[in-house]
Symmetry: D2
Subunit: 166 residues, 4 copies
């Protein structure tokens, strides 16, 4: 089993200050809980969560879409920068590498990550994100909205399935 | 440029009769319009759309998740069966190979395909599928609900961007 | 089972006239045998094989690395152009979609395709390509050099495992 | 830029004692040099390199083919276990995440990783691995055999291109 609980944080590469603060608080909360934050490694929500985690002494891994830093600039707060060269197909790797997922904000890429996580039975906590009105029912109980970063972290830690990862 | 207009049809590997009939009618309508149907190659919505298209003399390509037919059984109505060995990461290939996407029904995998298509600016027509209440606005105009298979095919043909593919 | 025997042809996006002629003859031979040619959809060896196949009335599918024609220009002789957005990760899809693989010439991408095919137990016929001096032994018998395009096609048809694909 | 120099170690999931010892020594050498070892996360060469690195206090990340630990058992010495659900398509992510690659032993998967690395201009040091007799010339100077684990580590550190990763 990996050394730390791994939690994925997903969100758009561009975001406003409000979401940035929320993502930063999520990253900080995860780091304080001893979790290793997994994200897409880029800007916006990903960069804010990374910064929050690193400021609190946490570990952050970015799984980037490009083949190298020239194609995808990693944000400044990654402990580890992994490159896939697979574009948005890397979204699947991000969510599969978490014992739970926290989705902050509501881009299309984020929605794909929420959907792929639930498809694989991975719990998803949403914050200022999509509310989904026509699920097929399966795994719906794994999708939980949170009304604050603190609550999102708490829920993710409660729902997390560490056995997924070893 | 490829020989025919390529339209992707996405939907769950299991479905009820109502969706099956809708998917079959979509496949038939696309074939009658001369389009080449691209799908995930498996059962449920995918099989029904394939059957409808083939019965109308159309071409159908399945892009399957497994590495071979032992891992992913292709449905019985594929002109061409492609294997990826990439699991749900193949969802991206399915939508990127369409000039437009028709989503039938509402599974999580289908939602990931709707989201990935819109992320890449590919028009999506939905039929008995998700209604999405908190998009980020970008590319939202590319998402169009249809109230019948006939209307879904018509809309997809109107919105299609064949230049995407050559 | 798909309508036609599917054979993958792999080779570099740039090549000299000698390889171009060999690849064209391979494509023509496959088309005359009624096979559906699967390739990476780009230039060089891929374009030459596609041209040979189409000139002989065959079907050709290209599985391209980019997300659309703007990122990866399809060659002029594809019946079907599929986009993956996964860069060189698409090499796996190309070989997995063949009942056998013919490798023409010797680039690094081509070598990765030969290796991925043999890893999955798919027969590989080489023409003016790599001779591999330190295999681990497993599946080595599936790797067969040919001394002419005609012989390469013949060997590929003999070794092909159509059951892989349905 | 990531915190540590990242070096990928590739090799088969099964191996004999001789290769196991070599891989273990490579892992140990990389850890002593302060590098973060990236590998495929499974057994054989991967497990031996991971064990050597961890025993020397190093960090080890495994990028696994399966969607979770049930599909791909991570070896016992990973600091971080990432899941891709993409099978052998994950080989590309492993090599793209290194500033250099060390290949130990000679399986087909390993050969695909050597080829994919060189295709992307990433230096590869080989140890008891393939000798390639018909490259196309491009990037050939990036492929360097080593005659001992110590020499392999030294060469990889010299050839490494840390700018690739940020």
């Amino acid at each position: 089993m990996p050394e730390r609980l791994q939690i994925a944080v997903v969100g758009a590469a561009e975001c406003d200050d409000r979401l940035r603060q929320a993502a930063c608080a999520v990253g900080e909360g995860l780091a304080r809980a001893g979790a290793h934050l997994i994200c897409g490694g880029r800007g916006g929500v990903m960069a804010a969560a990374s910064r929050g985690a690193r400021a609190a002494g946490g570990l952050v891994t970015g799984i980037l879409p490009g083949a190298d830093a020239g194609e995808s600039t990693p944000n400044d707060d990654l402990s580890l920068a992994l490159f896939t060269g697979m574009g948005q197909a890397r979204n699947l790797s991000v969510v599969l590498s978490g014992a739970a997922v926290i989705a902050v904000g509501g881009g299309w890429g984020t929605l794909s990550e929420i959907a792929l996580a639930l498809k694989h039975g991975i719990p998803v906590v949403t914050l200022e994100s999509w509310s989904l009105s026509r699920p097929d029912g399966r795994n719906e109980s794994l999708l939980r909205p949170a009304d604050s970063p603190r609550r999102a972290v708490k829920l993710a830690l409660e729902l997390a399935i560490p056995e997924r990862l070893g």
